[in-house]
Amino acid sequence: MLEILTANRLSDGDVVYRTAAGDWVDTIDDAELIDDTDQLTVAVAAAQADVKASRVLDVAPIAVETAEGHIVPKRLRERIRAFGPTVKSDHRPGAV
């Protein structure tokens, strides 16, 4: 199962994803794709160190798939976290 690591950034709460270099970024496509249990264990341990270091909160591995070169979470909840609220609005820049 293909997974990536997500969290919320401490300072502003924004949704972030962990890259292969160990950075936390806003863009899901830059996340490190993990399909190996040992690799996941290592990544989670490193991510938990960032929780301890007060960089991010609520680290979680999430299941994803790739489509046309993009990473798409399997669960709706995570798609909403990744791509924003699905509500219509004329006063909400960036809403989908």
Partner: protein
């Protein structure tokens, strides 16, 4: 309106300073999230799906134009230019950064606002009838008592770690617009035989996973004793409320498991100990607080407004708006006007910063600078001359706020749902938008009449689905959004919990299902005067079940 005294101002300022320091220490990594979480929650800061969320207390839903402008300013400066008014008469910002929260709280403190008691197992922000002090049918204004309860409950050391959160609502009218029977304690202001003020006290109502209608524990507690009586209830709850199971910790479970008679005995026993002590409410203190809520300087006017009537005759949109969104005022020539935050197809409860500014300006010019937030997620101008309705309607229309649907089928309550909330299992807002579009044609709404749809995206029931005439609960069915429909719920003095009508529907079928229910009602009602709720209570669930699922 109530104005902070020195004590209020000091404690709010102190709290801002204290929390600013806590945020700084958290950002520097000196305290862990486990240590910080309870501190941030005590200041209204949640972590949701996309960001932090800041919930700001609006005591008993009353706001001044100055306060509304400040909320607009905060929306613009620190958020994405909008705010969300909630079913608790509060305001939530969906996108603040933690590092900005101290500055936001400092800005709020300047206009006598804060985010205390919007989270945690304490006595939460007290809510009240949104037409308080204005409605033709009230025994007295409930807000002075809501304010007295606020002062008593704010940072109350004995009640800061209750088994679970605790919500109090107050109504001043027998017709209950504050859903007091769905609160931990519901108070109804009454007049005794001698004309003196007292309260019918209801206890143990609530929604969530175990919905219950409150029971009357005392039909009349005199004004002087009300704090002592409420305190006695809290003490009994604090002692005997369950702490072993979060889902059984609300006072409704204690009432259910103990029985109202035994609970009454326990409360009376406690009350006998503290009655007449420091919690006595002296008449002069009640009077002092009441003075803050004195009615504005109304001028003598005829009961009907020839000016409005003439304008209505020439303007069908104004006529429809006046029919739908005005509520009878106790003073001749005045009205209470509902500013619907339910544009057709829009987001229930959202207002942009520009709209907040527009409402502030309109209230300032025509409505004594007073605004209310209703638990139905609308705004109210409680005191407005009927003569001024045409101008106010035009100004609201310019701000995109003149939707004529108060109490109609498109006046939908919806929680933030899975689009924002970390607890949600399904989306609420897009469903509300779709239903609003389906039923939004004015003729269709008029044909249907008063009908409330209430949507929650999880079992916690922030969207009040249990008491919607049509209630919708979103759940997760194997990774797919799935919606259960209940019928016959009602939050007022004839409160009832809706009946789950049958198997639920996936997202693509739920709007059609609601329409089937509505069409069944239209077909079976005895006359257009028989409301959906009345028809459902007469007919029962059978014809609706049959229409939805076949014989």
């Amino acid at each position: 309106m109530y104005r902070y005294d020195e004590f209020d101002a000091t404690f709010v300022r102190q709290r801002v300073a204290q929390f600013s320091d806590q945020v700084e220490r958290r950002l520097r990594g000196e305290i862990t999230e486990d240590e910080f979480r309870p501190l941030r929650l005590m200041n209204g800061v949640y972590l949701q799906l996309h960001a932090y969320m800041l919930r700001i207390a609006i005591p008993y839903g009353t706001l001044s134009s100055t306060q509304m402008r400040r909320l607009a300013h905060i929306a613009r400066t620190y958020d994405k230019g909008f705010g969300h008014f909630t079913t608790r008469q509060n305001l939530q910002f969906n996108w603040p950064a933690l590092k900005d929260v101290p500055a936001i709280l400092a800005e709020l403190a300047e206009v006598e606002m804060h985010a205390i008691q919007t989270s945690g197992n304490c006595i939460r922000n007290v809510t009240a009838d949104h037409f308080a002090g204005a409605a033709f049918d009230e025994a007295d204004d409930p807000r002075p008592y809501a304010e007295i309860l606020r002062q008593w409950s704010s940072l109350h050391p004995e009640f800061s770690f209750l088994p679970r959160k605790f919500k109090i609502a107050v109504t001043g009218a027998a017709h209950d617009r504050a859903a007091i029977r769905l609160h931990d304690i519901g108070l109804e202001v009454k007049r005794g035989d001698d004309g003196g003020i007292g309260f019918a006290v209801h206890v143990g109502g609530g929604q969530g996973r175990t919905p219950m209608i409150a029971r009357e524990i005392n039909p009349f507690v005199p004004e002087a004793d009300i704090l002592a009586y409420v305190d006695a209830i809290l003490r009994v709850y604090n002692l005997f409320g369950r702490r072993d199971n979060k889902f059984k910790a609300r006072i409704k479970i204690l009432v259910h498991e103990t029985g109202i008679d035994e609970l009454r005995r326990l409360v009376e026993e406690e009350f006998a100990q503290i009655r007449g002590g420091v919690l006595g409410l002296p008449a002069e203190e009640a009077e002092r607080i009441r003075a803050y809520f004195a009615p504005p300087a109304f001028t003598a006017r005829p009961a009907a407004s020839a000016r409005l009537d003439a304008a209505r005759a020439g303007n069908p949109a104004l006529d429809r708006f006046s029919r739908q969104n005005l509520h009878r005022h106790k003073t001749p020539g005045y009205t209470s006007l509902t500013i619907s935050l339910k544009p057709i197809g829009g987001i229930p409860g959202d207002a942009s910063a520009d709209q907040m500014d527009a409402v502030a300006a309109i209230a300032e010019r025509w409505a004594f600078s007073e605004i209310r937030v209703s638990h139905e997620q609308n705004l109210i101008l409680p005191h407005l001359a009927l003569d001024d309705v045409p101008e106010v309607f035009a100004a609201l229309a310019e701000a995109g706020l003149a939707t004529a649907n108060a109490g109609a089928i498109t006046d939908i309550i919806a929680c933030p749902g899975l689009d924002y909330c970390a607890l949600a299992n399904a989306r609420s807002i897009p469903l509300a938008s779709a239903l609003s579009e389906r039923f939004g044609a004015p003729d269709r709404q008029d044909e249907i009449g008063p009908l409330s749809i209430k949507i929650s995206g999880c079992i916690n029931a922030c969207g009040h689905h249990h008491v919607g005439h049509i209630g919708i609960l979103g759940v997760d069915r194997k990774g797919e959004e799935f919606y259960q429909i209940s019928l016959g719920g009602n939050p007022d003095e004839s409160a009832s919990i809706g009946d789950i009508i049958g198997p639920g529907f996936f997202a693509d079928g739920v709007v059609d299902a609601v329409e089937t229910v509505v069409d069944t009602y239209l077909k079976l009602r005895t006359s257009p005067g028989e409301t959906f709720l009345a028809a459902y209570r007469r007919l029962g669930e059978a014809p609706f079940k049959e229409a939805l699922y076949g014989a």
